[in-house]
């Protein structure tokens, strides 16, 4: 068993366990903390895939930004962190059946797929390559992304404004 397999197995266990925590825990606040663990574990998967730049982005935007926003939303909508935040789920059996069916469907394709070739060589410094692509072939999508973020900012401001 190589070190990479050990690392993958460890991060897979953490990712799956925290994902189950997100959807199963009755306390919504705990669900967010589990989500933070799952997001960091996803970042580690990116590291295993030789993409350290994405690991940084994942930590900054997802684990930092999204978790903070969601915690804010829960504080605002539940006010008292405690009993009121407990919530029940519904259709547990139906939901499990549907998601199991989706997984079996995807896994069926994966089983049929021919075994993948080993990883090809990776172009030197990934961060340099990403930076050059962002101002080269992907310059227009990057600008559109900036427009989208401004629109999202304005939209959130519009929703959050006080009446009158």
């Amino acid at each position: 068993m190589t070190a990479e397999m050990l690392a993958f197995a460890g991060v897979a266990v953490v990712l799956l366990a925290s994902s189950l925590g997100v959807v199963l825990t009755p306390n919504l606040f705990h669900a967010i903390l589990y989500l933070a663990v799952a997001l960091v574990a996803t970042g580690v998967v990116f590291l295993l895939l030789d993409a350290p730049f994405l690991f940084g982005v994942q930590l900054l935007l997802y684990a930092g930004g999204v978790v903070t926003i969601v915690v804010f939303a829960i504080m605002l909508t539940e006010r008292l962190v405690g009993t009121s935040i407990r919530q029940t789920s519904r259709y547990l059996v139906n939901g499990a059946l549907v998601s199991l069916a989706v997984f079996v469907g995807v896994a069926g394709f994966l089983v049929q797929a021919p075994p993948s070739a080993p990883r090809p060589a990776w172009p030197g410094d990934l961060t340099v390559a990403v930076g050059q692509a962002l101002v080269g072939a992907f310059a227009v999508p990057l600008e559109l992304l900036g427009v989208l973020l401004v629109i999202a900012l304005l939209g959130a401001l519009y929703f959050a404004r006080s009446e009158g």
Partner: protein
């Protein structure tokens, strides 16, 4: 690890996220499930990018992460507004548009 291992892991996370979306009553809980599903897709994109040595998958992931953050910000703003108006974030109670 072969490509299939990463794809299986992503499929499992996607299924778990779908389970959360289907079973959660709270709108914030549903959003958390959607986050998990988006994460699984990102794992797929990066895995394919790595095993095909194609930078496009990495850049797509960069874009989806940024767009998701914007989506969460707007989605939670909507949730807060709904809470202000209706005093609930239970998805089942938000049936104003039901015919």
């Amino acid at each position: 690890m072969p490509l299939g291992a990463y794809l299986t892991l992503a499929a499992l996370v996607f299924a778990i996220g779908l389970f959360g979306v289907l079973t959660r009553r709270n709108a914030v809980g549903i959003l958390l499930g959607i986050e998990l599903m988006l994460n699984a897709v990102n794992i797929n994109l990066v895995a394919f990018a790595r095993f095909h040595a194609d930078l496009a998958g990495i850049l797509f992931t960069l874009f989806t992460i940024s767009i998701t953050v914007a989506e969460v910000a707007v989605g939670l703003a909507i949730v807060i507004v709904i809470f202000r108006v209706r005093r609930t974030v239970e998805a089942d109670h938000l049936d104003l548009l039901r015919g």
